[in-house]
Amino acid sequence: MTANDSSPHHLQLTRDGQLRHFLTLDGLNRALLTDILDTADSFIEVGERTIKKVPLLRGRTVVNLFFESSTRTRSTFELAAKRLSADVLNLDISTSATSKGESLSDTLLNLEAMASDMFVVRHSQSGAPHFIAESVTPGVAIINAGDGRHAHPTQAMLDMLTIRQKKGQFEGLKVAIVGDVLHSRVARSQIRALNELGAGEVRIIAPGTLLPKDVESLGCKVEYDMTRGMKDLDVVIMLRLQKERMEGALLPSEREFYRLYGLNQQKLALAHPDCIVMHPGPINRGVEIESAVADGPQSVILNQVTNGIAIRMAVMSMAMGGQVAERQQKLSERGQA
């Protein structure tokens, strides 16, 4: 029996199917994902101008609410908001309120009093942005910038944009995600996006200790042996390995992990010659990836970063648009009533 119907995808869409929050890729269909990619494509040009601004969010206040520290994701969100002409406030909550014992609900009440239009949320607990989206005043958009092990939807979409730029389309592509899938919000969102966009095959390459229970149910195949797993690949996505994983008895050593699951030139040679190499960053050279591969001709790691700004501009402008449309609809309904 299902207890309720407040699943994430109902929460993040308006009645007519527009984005109003961006929390997860679950429940977003191929048309909407393609729309996000197309919108991002149109913003790439903005980044190439001398004056890198469009007025879509002029007069809006975007609050970067980072309960977990991050450099790259936060700066690309900040740049994206500024290129959309929004006013940006960066709040590093990990070092302030919550460490003084304030609950998330209370922190939110205080921030809402500042009349913001959008919260970009990163949190160490899965579901935190969803919780925030359920508790904020209507009209405020929530963008998930990574929650626990759950989702990192803007990262997955910038990866999809990078794949589409390099490969043209998704049909028939063989894609592998290598490494710590268990703890990875990035991998969960990528698997979902690749399935929805029609990739031919999604493979997970990892040892048993780094796999979630019943991972195949997410829409992927499991391969323990990387040399077999690299065969015929069009895209290989490496995941970051946290050093703490050795302490929890998930892995014996970095050295053994690198030998079995690290990407070097020999293993890359087993894939298609035009296979691209991706990594959400920050990379651990010599732990999950060899420098020669990370800096090599097949690597698109820096393209991913550039595309991150365009994807975040797309998602922010679309969610704000959905909120505005919803408000206007409510006003006109009230007018008629």
């Binding site: 994430p8 609950s103 899965s126 579901g127 626990g148 979630p212």
Partner: protein, 434 residues
């Protein structure tokens, strides 16, 4: 607490259907209650006069429900409820006996705390409260509590609350010591090392939502260990709140081998599954976690064939803030005691459970675990629940009595209205002013 029926006054229930878990359904002619006891039943009762007569109509007359696991939150800081609020909620749910979990603050690990609970219940509870003592000091799992002292002070059993077990050596000594005094031990089977930081069933939903899972083996390994240790020590073991189908199988085998073991399941485990968490609904953060549909079915089968003796509420009232956060930061538990009967009746409606099985698991089953009876016979204590299975109510902030507002179902009509709860012949529900 004022009671309408002062000693000496009498009450008669006419009509209705009698169910008591020992015999077949009987049509009721009349049931006479006098001096806290069932004075007469049937024709003998019909002939007698009474100070008050209640017409049962098509309602069910059952022994009052017995809950083996209820959190009354007293002693405690009061935010989550207290003896008065939670026992009244229990009476609203048709319960006349609740076992008070040792997980209070401070923990019920000494006779002083047990007396505090009993004194509170004596003055402020409309129903019977039976404290369960902590088997280890502070429920820390390191040092034995004064079990003999707890029993002398009135604890009916000793247990680990909802805490798991960390150390099999200590578990073995707990059992051996409790066995010395013939105490029943109530254990929630959870291997703490395997459960680790988890808070949801390790399965499809946790994998998709990135929640931290508690694997099934955290329970099954603990059940196996406890069964073996119970067999060795000879202690009377009661397994609290099973959640896995495999646990039911192991229990069935152990019983066949003649091990003195009983078990219960929380009603929400029979109704909901891991799917309840799909929208990150922190209300359904419970422990043990809601598991898969096949587990739910196996638990129901266990209740049906009696391998699982009792259905419990596992009532865990909380203040609102304790449930308002991302799931990992919330406290586990539902405010469930007022909807046990109603959700059970929905299972009956869906043909998953028969009404006599439900009533047995709420009355004679749990009573037997405590070495008590729950009969509707002349001379028995008048602990009675009269409920209308065909009437509806809607749980919401107006109708719920508990301090905890996180009931499993709210704002939807549920079948089953408790019309009258009698505890030792006194009206525990509804409470009348005065």
């Amino acid at each position: 607490m004022t009671s309408v029926n002062t000693s000496g006054s009498s009450l008669k229930i006419t009509g209705g259907r009698l169910f008591d878990g020992y015999s077949e359904e009987r049509d009721n002619t009349a049931l006479l209650i006098r001096d806290g006891r069932i004075a007469a039943i049937g024709e003998a009762a019909a002939r007698e006069d009474a100070d008050e007569i209640i017409h049962a109509g098509n309602s069910v007359i059952s022994p009052g429900f017995v809950d083996l696991c209820c959190n009354l939150r007293e002693p405690g800081n009061g935010q989550k409820g207290n003896i008065a609020s939670e026992t009244l909620a229990a009476a609203h749910g048709g319960f006349t006996t609740v076992c008070a979990s040792p997980e209070t603050s401070p923990v019920n690990d000494s006779s002083a705390v047990t007396h505090l609970i009993r004194d509170g219940a004596a003055s402020r509870s409309p129903i019977r409260v039976l404290p369960v003592g902590a088997i280890t000091r502070g429920l820390e799992g390191d040092l034995l509590s004064d079990m003999a002292g707890l029993a002398a002070a009135g604890c009916v059993a000793v247990g680990n609350g909802s805490r798991g077990v960390r150390n099999a050596r200590i578990l073995r000594r707990c059992m051996a010591y409790a066995q010395t005094f013939g105490l029943t031990v109530m254990f929630s089977p959870e291997n703490q090392a395997l459960a680790a930081d988890g808070y949801a069933h390790d399965g499809l939903v946790t994998s998709r939502l990135g929640l931290l899972g508690i694997p099934e083996v955290a329970e099954t390994a603990a059940v196996m260990e406890m069964l073996l240790l119970a067999e060795e020590t000879g202690v009377r073991l009661h397994l609290s709140q099973l959640s896995c189908g495999r646990s039911v199988e192991m229990l069935r085998d152990a019983r066949r081998r003649g091990i003195a073991v009983t078990a219960d399941v929380a009603l929400h485990q029979l109704v909901f599954t891991e799917d309840a968490l799909a929208g990150f609904d922190s209300r359904f953060h419970v422990r043990p976690p809601l598991r898969s549909e096949s587990d739910r079915k196996a638990l129901i089968a266990g209740v049906r064939d009696g391998v699982i003796d009792a259905i419990v509420s596992q009532h865990q009232p909380h203040d609102t803030a304790a449930k308002q956060a991302p799931m990992a930061a919330t406290e586990p538990g539902l405010s469930s005691i007022e909807s046990v009967l109603s959700l059970g009746l929905e299972l009956v409606e869906m043909n998953e459970l028969a009404l006599p099985d439900l009533i047995r698991a709420l009355t004679t089953g749990p009573a037997a675990v405590l070495g008590r009876t729950a009969r509707l016979e002349e001379g028995e204590t008048a602990d009675i629940c009269l409920f209308d299975p065909d009437a509806f109510w809607t749980p919401d902030s107006k109708t719920l009595v508990s301090a905890g507002r996180h009931a499993p179902v709210t704002h939807r009509e549920l079948p089953g209205v408790v019309r009258l709860t009698l505890s030792e012949g006194r009206k525990a529900w509804p409470q009348t002013a005065g």
